[in-house]
Symmetry: C2
Subunit: 402 residues, 2 copies
Amino acid sequence: MTVCTAADLDLADPLAAHRDLFVGTETPLVYLDGNSLGRPLRTTPERLRAFVEEEWAGRLIRGWDERWMDLPEVLGDAIGAQILGASTGQTIVGDSTTVLLYKLMRAAVALRPGRTEIVMDRDNFPTDRYVADGVARECGLTLRWIDVDTAAGVTAEQLAAVVGEQTALVSLSHVAYRSAWIADAGALTRIAHDAGALVLWDLSHSAGSVPMALDDWDVDLAVGCTYKYLNGGPGSPAFAFVAERLLDDVVQPIQGWLGAADPFLMGPTYHPADGIRRILSGTPPVVGMLALQDMLQLLSRVGMVAVREKSIGLTSYAVDRAAELLPEVALASPAEASLRGGHVTFTHPLMGEVTAALWERDVIPDYRDPHGLRLGLSPLSTSYDEVERGLQAVREVLDSLG
Amino acid sequence: MTVCTAADLDLADPLAAHRDLFVGTETPLVYLDGNSLGRPLRTTPERLRAFVEEEWAGRLIRGWDERWMDLPEVLGDAIGAQILGASTGQTIVGDSTTVLLYKLMRAAVALRPGRTEIVMDRDNFPTDRYVADGVARECGLTLRWIDVDTAAGVTAEQLAAVVGEQTALVSLSHVAYRSAWIADAGALTRIAHDAGALVLWDLSHSAGSVPMALDDWDVDLAVGCTYKYLNGGPGSPAFAFVAERLLDDVVQPIQGWLGAADPFLMGPTYHPADGIRRILSGTPPVVGMLALQDMLQLLSRVGMVAVREKSIGLTSYAVDRAAELLPEVALASPAEASLRGGHVTFTHPLMGEVTAALWERDVIPDYRDPHGLRLGLSPLSTSYDEVERGLQAVREVLDSLG
C-alpha cells in the first residue's frame, strides 16, 4: 500500500531540487529509461562550448600534454572513488563496454593458463555473452552457462556448484539488465576465488545507482557503462577496473601506442605502461568524456548513500503503486528493495504494444523481451510525480488496449 | 625560389575564405600541426549545444531509433564517398584507429589461413607496428619488416621482394607519418594481391588531404583517423573500410551486440550483421561524431581535388621558402610535390629545442624523432601567411639558439 502520495514524497525528498539540474525535466515528458540513457546536465552544453572554443581551438595539440592525456585516469579515479569503492590507480575510462569486456576477458584467460572454462549466466547482457562466446572460441575454452530465474540472478549455491579447478573466469553482471537483481558480489567473488578463478563484474546497470565496494569485495576485474546513471551522453566511453594486485601481470591483446610505457617515444617495440594505463589502446575519446566529468562531481557532492536511498524510494514507489494501479501486471524484479537495483520491470502479455503507445504520448520507458516494461529511475533526475504520471499512463493505455 | 610572397598567394587562393570557418584563425597563433589535431569548425559549438538540448535531452532514448544508430554508416558512407573513393556500404565509423587496426588485422589473418607472415615497414606508425606485433604473436605468425629511407616509404620493388605465398597481410600507411611520403597504393596493392595476400592501408595521415581511390585500387581493408584533416576533435572515433567482396566472409574478434544482426533481439547467440556493421562492437560514440559530420559536409562542397591543390600549394611554399630562409635545415620529406602528403618535415640537430621555443611563442608545429620539425598544413584552415610566420619564427629561434 502506498502510504504517501507522489506529491508528498517529492516534498519530503531531500534530493528533489537536483532534478532541476538536468535538461528537459521542465517539460511534460515522462522519462523512465535512465538505465538506457541518462538525461544531460544543464551544465553540459556550456561545458562542450567552452571545451571547443577554449581548449580544443585555444590550446590545440598542447591540450594533450596539459590535460587530455590524463583524463582517462583522472575520470577513472573519480569513478573508482565516488562510485566503485576502489582506491586510485585501478580504474580507467576509454573504448566501449564491449571492447573493454573483450580486453579483460582475454587478460583473465591469459592469467589462468591451463584452465578450460568461462562461467556466465544465460541472463547476462547480450554483449557480455557474445564477447565471452568469441573469447572462449578463440582461446579454446568452453562457456559454462548457469540458468537463472527471470526475476533473479546467480546465487551463491548455483555458482559454487559449477566452479572448480577448470574455471578460468566467472563473468557476471552486478545488477541484472532486465530484473535489476543485485548479485551478492562479495560472496560470489569469494566462491570464485576459492576455486582459483578470476571474476569480471559488469557494473553497467549499477554504476551510479547502487553503491559498490570493489576493494572490500576483492574484485579482480570490472567494466561499466557511463551513459546510463553517469549521464555521459549517447555512446560515451566505458570504464575498466583491474585490481592493483593484478596490474603488473595483466596483459590485454590490443597493443596500442596509448597503452605503451612511453607513447611518444614511438620506439620499435611495445612495452606496456605501468599500472592501469596498459588497458588503453588508442587515443582517448576526449570530447565524449566531458559530460561525464560534471556528473561525477555532482555524485561526489551528493554521495552514493543518498543516491541509493532515493533510488530505493523511487523503485519502491513504483512497485507499491503498480500493485494498486496495475493489478494485472506482474513484478519481474525483486520485491525486496535491498535486492533491487535502480530499475523495475513489470510484465504483461501486452507490454510490447503498451510501450509503443506510451512513446507516442511522450512517456518513455523501455521494453525488454519477454513482455517486460522496464522503468529505469535515475535517482537525481526523476521525481515521484514523474513515476506516478508514467504509471497512470500505463493504466490508461492498458484500458485503451482493452 | 619563391616566386610569390605569402600575401600574394593568399590573395590568389580560391579557398582562402574557408580559413574563417574555423575557430581560432582570427588569433595571432600560428598552427602548423593539423595532421595531429585539426582546428574546430565555428559551427561545432552550436552543433554540440543543439545536440545536447534538442536530440539528447529532447529525444532521449528515441534518438537511437531516429538517427544515432545509423550514424556509423551514414558518416562512413560520407567518408567513403567524399574522401576515400569508395562506394557505399564499405566504410563505418567507430572505436579508435588502434582498435580498428586490431579488428581488421585479426580478420585478415583469419581470411588467409595457413599463411605465416604479416609484412610491414619499420617506419610505419607506432600503433600499427605494436598492434601487428601483438596480432602476429597471438596468431602464431611472423612479422616481416621492410626497412625504408627516412624520407620515403615502401617501393614496389621492396614489396615485391618480400611477399610470397607465405604472406597473409601487407599492412602499410598511405602517407608516412614523418616524411609524408605517399605510397603508390594501387601498385602496392596489386603486388600483394599477386602473391595472394590481403592489404590493409592506414589512411590516418592522408584522409582529408590526399585524394584516394580505394575502389579503383582494389584495396581490401583500410582504417583511418578523423581528428586530423577531418577535424573531429581530440580522440574522435576512427573509420574502417572493408571491400564489399570480402564483407560476407570477414569476421572480427570483438563480437559485440552492436555488430550483431539484430542488436535488440538480444538472443542467445551472436550472428554477425550483414555488411559493414559487423565491424562494430559496442555502442556508437555519438557525441564524438558530431564535429566530424560538419567537416565532411564542408569537404564535400569544396571537393578533394581543390583541397589537394591547396595542400600542394602550402607544402610547396614551405619547402621553397625553407630553402631560402633556413639553409641549415634538411628536407626530410619528398621534394617532389606529387609524392608528398599534407605535411612537411625538416630536420636539424636542434629541432627538439626549436619546437619547445616555438610553442612558447604560440607557434605550434610538431616534433618527431630524430630531429624532425613537422609542419602539418590543414588545407582549409591554414594560410600562406601563417606558414610564412611559422618559418620566420623558426629562423628567429634558430638564431637565438646560436
